[in-house]
């Protein structure tokens, strides 16, 4: 059965829907859309240690966002189990670029050559999951936001700090794509 709920959505449907979470959160409780502050809230809740940055009332400022984040995980689960398994229809150019880097498995949302428990302790698996995850956590905390907080909420509100951050996102992303990934994927 091909139904709009079970297949990928075109960009002009997906984008506006994502953008609507900004007014939805503002109108329900004057909350600013941004996911990465949850990493700080989780640190504050679990392992604040003696770090001043993690000593604040996380329940008061962040409980709503942690609940939202739990929902994101559940939403992913529902989408996965209600959708048909398929290859992500990336462009032929991307497919060729990735084949050239040794990625042959195009099934699912992430290549199993990098994102399984079995490959976790290979160089490329470790770099993709452990090092990549660390950089996401450190970088978003340092920048004070991620794609949601800076690229969407921040740019939509015409904030210069967010524009600088988004330029940084792309500088880092391009560097990893063109200099780190070929080295790591090609070298194994």
């Amino acid at each position: 059965m091909t139904c709009w709920l079970t297949t990928e959505w075109p960009w002009y449907v997906a984008g506006p829907l994502i953008g609507l979470f900004v007014p939805a959160l503002l109108i329900t409780g004057n909350k600013v859309f941004g996911i990465s502050s949850n990493l700080r809230h989780l640190c504050a809740a679990i392992v604040p240690g003696k770090v001043e940055y993690f000593h604040y009332d996380w329940k008061k400022t962040g409980l709503w966002n942690l609940v939202f984040l739990a929902g994101v995980l559940i939403g992913g689960f529902l989408a996965f189990h209600s959708g048909a398994a398929h290859d992500v229809a990336v462009s032929a150019a991307t497919r060729n670029s990735l084949l050239g880097l040794g990625i042959h498995d195009f099934h699912g949302v992430a290549p199993r050559e990098l994102f399984t428990w079995r490959t976790l302790l290979t160089l490329r698996g470790f770099l993709s999951v452990v090092v990549g995850g660390f950089l996401v956590g450190f970088g978003t905390a340092y920048a004070g936001g991620c794609t949601s907080g800076h690229a969407i909420s921040g740019l939509a509100n015409f904030e210069l700090p967010s524009l600088i951050a988004v330029i940084g996102f792309f500088a880092g992303g391009l560097a990893a794509t063109y200099f780190i990934l070929p080295f790591v994927l090609g070298g194994v």
Partner: protein, 162 residues
């Protein structure tokens, strides 16, 4: 609503904002919004490592179309909210606290560090969690690693340029 949340922090504003934010009814709304967001992230495929590679290689308009139209929709919504002077359902006047620019270093450096991680994991923080729901269970390790990264930032914060 009979639920009373007793705040230990009776600072300015705390008494009015904390109880409503913590009420189960409000939390349910955020849970449902989160579920919807996780579903949208999945169906739009922005959680896919392949899509992120396609974006950083400039080989498809798709991701730019998604992010661009998301920003345009959000910007239009914010402008309408400001123009109409809307209040939130909870009765607060709606405002987005501005970020202070400072030297700008934190945005450039932090942004670039996140960008490296975005391309390597193929995921930003929201998609990291949506991916676990999508059965990519090894992303639990990426989340723990991201928490470690955020923690190290908090620890090193006093000595980092902002």
């Amino acid at each position: 609503m009979t639920t009373q949340v007793v705040s230990e922090f009776e600072g300015c504003g705390a008494a009015s904002s904390e109880p409503q934010a913590a009420r189960p009814a409000y939390l349910t709304v955020y849970l449902l919004l989160g579920v919807a967001f996780g579903f949208v992230l999945s169906r739009s495929e922005v959680i896919s490592w392949f899509r992120i590679q396609e974006m950083f290689r400039f080989q498809s308009f798709r991701m730019y179309g998604i992010i661009g139209s998301a920003i345009a929709t959000a910007a239009l919504s914010i402008a309408l909210i400001k123009w109409a002077g809307l209040k939130s359902v909870s009765g607060e006047s709606i405002s987005i606290p501005p970020k202070s620019l400072g030297s700008g270093i934190r945005y450039a450096a932090g942004g670039a560090i996140f960008g490296l991680g975005w391309a390597l994991t193929g995921a930003c923080p929201g998609p990291l969690f949506a991916l676990i729901g999508n059965g990519v269970s090894v992303m639990v390790v990426a989340v723990v690693s991201a928490l470690a990264g955020a923690w190290i930032y908090g620890w090193a914060r006093p000595s980092l340029p902002h």
